[in-house]
Symmetry: C2
């Protein structure tokens, strides 16, 4: 595998690696001496020393003082256990997450919850990495103060402030992810056996998280305008939930948005019952016109807002946040230190650099238009297959679609997985399991024509069986 | 604040910022039009547009379509609530963590648990950031598979394999931090009310973490060679703990190391009682000669090893790992997805790049010698004050020291904090609270002569009071 662009050091490393791969050098074997290899390859001694040093760092070879260099432990290729398909596993919320996370590149993922990599602001991130590589030592090696990277917290506080909400930056706490933000809130509020209110349908990972907390999950039907007000009131009276966890803005999985009227009615019930609403603002950047937030009406009296940057900046650069009433912050910080110790600065520093880059704002504008375009295309394609959206979303990535009556979404998902298409079947999102004829589509992942071909074929198979 | 190195764009941004700070432009005020400002400053229109765009991205100003640019919300300086000192708070485990994490640069931290920033491999990290900025899009924007960044997991597996332990890379799971690794293990093994065994003294954040899990903490006295074997056996019989959480290699806070003999005796008890030992290998890189690990003797039958790179690579680039028996991995992954969703790739990618850099290994060798030098200097300085080490550590950063009988470590710590020196008083590490005459010193943070001056002064004050 000669490459003319390789440096001499890389060529030397490649030379040794291939000798090991071809079993010319077995495990534990002594490598040629530096001098001898330099002579053989016609390179300088220092080139070979540096190559050996790098291979030692990579743990491919070992150096033994006075004895030379030796091939390290077992060099056999590692079996790909980790990529074992979970085909036969029950389709539960974790099934979709794990399927989507382990999917090989050739697999199509219309059911997954994030954008394709090439839709992300890759150039802004590369720029930010180079910029950060020149910044202060603290950012690179030290813990943040317990609240986290200050400029990013100020940025988040200002975004909230622009909605007319009074907020101090020390009401904002950075976390390692949006999910960790909710986990910390749960740890602060909940004990095993408490009741927690969610929407039906709702984001399936809320269920996985709440199960870890061993709480009683109760669900309120979600309408086109937010939760069903009457049922919300009844459930609150009956179960006295400690938290109501929901999405801010664009609802996952339905794509519906809260109306101001509903928000107001729900808040009245919540205030009276001393119920705290946790709104996950993770889809904020996808809105053309922002839908009302509970926070906009209530401030931080009964509302905690949290979010992350994984949908529009990067899922690889983990960083989330909590914005809450000052009385809650101290307890959240203690929990964060106890369960995760200090905040890092680097991820937040990179995210902040991307957010402050004017080209990122332009990227977002383009992204929203691009999404709207894919949304209408996906609707048209799905309708041809008699798969119809429950509501036409005002923005975002999700389409919550109803299947023909005789098609079960879980069955369909199992068949499609065999054809390398990962769907998100409705009941994974439904506490009452009444969404067996629904699928959630991510329009950003629906471009490939093969998805519709596989869907059609799988639906045909199911119809034939029936 | 004119600066000749500023670009025209930066100068324009500075011009607007200072107008806002000096209240020449009030909140909500309209900014000069682009054309007018370009004329005033003698710059091009495109320079001013780019400056305004960046200020919009920073949320200092807002753009309103067709109306121009306006000063954003409140621009008042944010009060420094977040830096409020916790002087009067009770000295509990979280006290030290929070004090150390919020300390201003002028504060001396001989009690804190990490190296000073300039001891860290800053250049390798800057190099790694530049290298990573050129790598594949996936690394920058996507989730990892649920196990985390593959090359780093393979690197960790090989390090374990070199000790003669059989391990597959899919037995290694990356986490957001070492603390998160233990938290996930606790979530897998423990229910509220279970017993967990720790050392006395032990790393104080284990206590904070275990309190979150609402478990019963029982402690075994730590000797110079590891836990007291006889008492270990009695406690295991009496309390039937589910986990024993300890440090691998260099013990925190004592700096003592486990003997092979003790390890073997402890393992026999653990195997018989079906007790799982969690060993935190965070200080591995500080050892000259590796002390025995429980893992070396037992493999993964009754042992879980975890660790992170925060001590020797960076505390800012959060990344930890768990290495465990295959039967535990699936449950740990489900918990990780539920409570933190996907792993990021970026942090692990940067850490891996640093670890693979041959200059990092050289840095580590230098670091260890540097530490040994600081260790002997600190011992000499402390002994002059009649503060004596309980054991002379074979490596690492910690010295566990006994104070003169009449000096209470918590009292001393409170006085020293007034003089801007943060100590780590013994009882924060002791489950039985029998370490009131002990302090933990971090020799890497003990270089400044003022520490010994403050200690002497504070000890004098306490002696005078008595």
């Amino acid at each position: 595998m000669e490459n003319i662009f390789m440096t001499k050091i890389e060529k030397t490393m490649q030379h040794i690696r291939s000798k090991i791969e071809n079993h010319h050098l077995m495990m534990g074997a002594r490598l040629p001496s530096v001098r001898m290899l330099a002579k053989t390859l016609g390179y300088s001694v220092s080139t070979v020393i540096e190559s050996y040093d790098r291979l030692v760092a990579e743990k491919v070879i070992e150096s033994r003082q006075g004895a030379g260099y030796f091939v390290s432990g077992t060099q056999t290729a590692f079996p790909q256990h980790e990529l074992t398909r979970l085909v036969d596993r029950e389709i539960d919320p974790l099934w979709i997450s794990r399927q989507s996370l382990i999917a090989q590149p050739q697999v199509l993922k219309p059911g997954c919850g994030w954008l394709p990599g090439h839709w992300m602001p890759e150039l802004s991130i590369r720029k930010a990495l180079r910029k950060v590589s020149k910044q202060h030592t603290d950012l690179l090696v030290n813990y943040a103060n317990p609240w986290g990277h200050q400029p990013l917290r100020h940025w988040i506080a200002r975004r909230i402030e622009q909605k007319g909400i009074y907020i101090q930056p020390d009401q904002v706490l950075l976390t390692e992810s949006g999910t960790q933000a909710i986990d910390l809130i749960c740890r602060l509020f909940l004990q095993a056996g408490d009741s927690v209110l969610v929407d039906d349908p709702y984001y399936f990972n809320f269920q996985s998280l709440l199960k870890v907390h061993r709480v009683n999950i109760v669900a309120v039907p979600y309408t086109e305008n937010g939760p069903d007000i009457e049922q919300f009131e009844q459930i609150v009276q009956l179960h006295q939930p400690k938290l109501y966890i929901t999405n801010a803005g664009i609802h996952n999985p339905t794509g519906a948005t809260l109306s101001t009227h509903t928000a107001y009615q729900i808040l009245k019930v919540a205030e009276q019952a001393n119920l705290t609403i946790v709104e996950d603002d993770i889809f904020a950047d996808f809105e053309f016109v922002p839908a009302p937030r509970y926070l906009d009406l209530n401030g931080f009296t009964n509302v905690i807002q949290m979010g992350s940057f994984s949908k529009t900046v990067s899922a690889s650069i983990r960083c989330g946040y909590i914005a809450a009433h000052p009385r809650l912050i101290d307890g959240l910080i203690n929990l964060k230190i106890a369960t995760n110790f200090g905040c890092g600065l680097l991820n937040a520093g990179i995210i902040y650099t991307v957010l402050s880059d004017s080209s990122f704002r332009k990227h977002l504008e383009g992204l929203k238009l691009h999404l709207a375009d894919h949304m209408s295309k996906a609707i048209r394609q799905l309708e041809k297959l008699d798969i119809t959206p429950w509501v036409i979303p005002k923005g975002g990535i999700f389409l919550w679609c109803q299947l023909p009556k005789h098609i079960d979404a879980a069955e369909l998902s199992k068949i499609c997985l065999k054809y390398n298409v990962i769907l998100a079947p409705g009941n994974a999102f439904s506490q009452s399991n009444n969404a067996s004829h629904f699928l959630r589509f991510n329009v950003a992942q629906c471009h490939d024509q093969r998805i519709y071909e596989v869907l059609e074929k799988a639906m045909q198979e199911l119809s034939d069986e029936a």
